[in-house]
């Protein structure tokens, strides 16, 4: 491994350790009130983060997006069937109209990605690019000019979850770095107040997974 790859891999390893520690802290605080979340493991490390295969075709799940995210983060396998891709161009147009309506964006995203692994399909590339831009331009600016609390929590957390899954299924470092950026931006003391606060925990699980995948594939990522 060359010097550059070594330096990157070391940084990813350090961050992975930090993310695992933060996961443990958040889990203690956030999951106690959530019946479903109590099933999250007490700790995560390199051998216990959930693994999944990047789908080749569109998958349908019988449970909703949030329940599916919780299951994936716990390492459970979703019951799934295959299906045809729904139109991604039309969906992107609808998504672009929600610039000032994060609640509607949350609804659209959670409806389309009932099976969250579909975000890694090549058909979703333009949608991922749009989500990355929203996160790193509009959301970042809002959080830095005001505070993280100025953002609509469920939308922010769902985007972070989906982009973390995307990051673990591609070798594009921009996605991983958006997770790095928000990990640094979100204050340690921030506790989401919405019913979907536990999405902060699943985000950390998927982020840890993305860091591991990138560490293993560093020579193709960078």
């Amino acid at each position: 491994m060359g010097t550059r790859h070594e330096v990157i891999a070391n940084a990813l390893q350090v961050r992975h350790t930090e993310v695992c520690a933060r996961f443990t802290n958040y889990r203690l605080e956030l999951v106690n009130n959530e019946s479903s979340s109590s099933q999250f493991p007490e700790t995560i490390n390199q051998t216990s983060t959930p693994h999944w295969n990047k789908p080749e075709v569109w998958l349908e799940s019988e449970i909703d997006c949030l329940a599916a995210l919780a299951m994936l983060a716990r390492g459970d396998r979703l019951l799934e069937t295959t299906s045809n891709n729904p139109d991604s161009n039309q969906f992107l147009l609808e998504l672009q109209k929600t610039a000032r309506d994060p609640e509607e964006r949350f609804r659209l995203l959670s409806t389309r990605y009932r099976h969250p692994l579909n975000i890694g399909l090549s058909s979703e590339e333009a949608i991922c690019e749009h989500l990355l831009e929203r996160l790193m331009v509009a959301d970042r600016a809002c959080a830095q000019q005001h505070s993280i609390e100025a953002l609509y929590e469920p939308d922010l957390l769902l985007k972070l979850n989906l982009l973390a899954i995307k990051s673990a299924s591609c070798n594009d470092l921009r996605y991983l770095d958006s997770l790095n950026y928000f990990y640094e931006l979100i204050p340690m003391g921030w506790r989401p107040k919405s019913e979907t606060a536990w999405l902060l925990i699943t985000y950390l699980v998927f982020y840890a997974r993305a860091l591991e995948v990138c560490s293993c594939q560093i020579e193709t990522c960078a």
């Binding site: 010097t3 550059r4 330096v7 990157i8 940084a11 961050r15 690019e129 990355l132 831009e133 790193m136 331009v137 970042r140 594009d172 470092l173 921009r174 770095d177 958006s178 790095n180 950026y181 990990y183 640094e184 960078a222």
Partner: protein
Amino acid sequence: MSNRNLRVAILAHSFSSAYRIFREIKNGDNVDLSIILSPSPHRSAVPGFSLNLFRVFVGSVLTLNLEGLRMLASGKLILLSKQFDHDTSIARLKELRFDIGLHKAGIIYRARTIAAFRLGILNPHIGLLPEYRGRSVMEWSLLKGDPVGITVFFIDEGIDTGERIVVSEPVDVSSYGSVAEAKGYLFNLDAVFFRKALEAINSGSPFLLNNGMGRRYYVMSNLFTGVVEELLRKKAG
């Protein structure tokens, strides 16, 4: 290209930043060079205008360099009372009939402002287009092991998507031991690269095509910036 001098205006918010570019280009062949200052968007228009006028006078006296005053008297230094995208500024820019604007103002221009220049507005971007669009592109190039460089291109309303690339060259930053030093070096090459771009236009060199196939990059995290810092430190030895 015709023998007529290119009418070129440096677009800036402060005389000192524009004058650094002016000094590099002023002796170039076939270039008729001016400076246009507008108030910064972060200041109200009238104080911004007054502040620029004040700076030109005080700066000229303190440095015993009367060029600013001479330019003002000869009409080569133009002070706008509104920002570049304001209707009255655009009308004034059209009257002045410049061929090219040189971007040295910290703003994103609207299409109407860009269209006020016959050929457009040139931007020195510290990344190699078309691949490296957007923010932190020097850092991203280093992180990915690609060459660092500068691209001078005619802007459009998008983020580094202007189709006409005039100059694109790799630049060695390996002797700089930090991101701030390397970036500072690249940013300070803007005047040199503007001169190269104007020479290329005057010589009739064909434009390269920014085919839009590159990726847009975003502000880099502290984690990856730290990686780039370490890579630069190791290279600089």
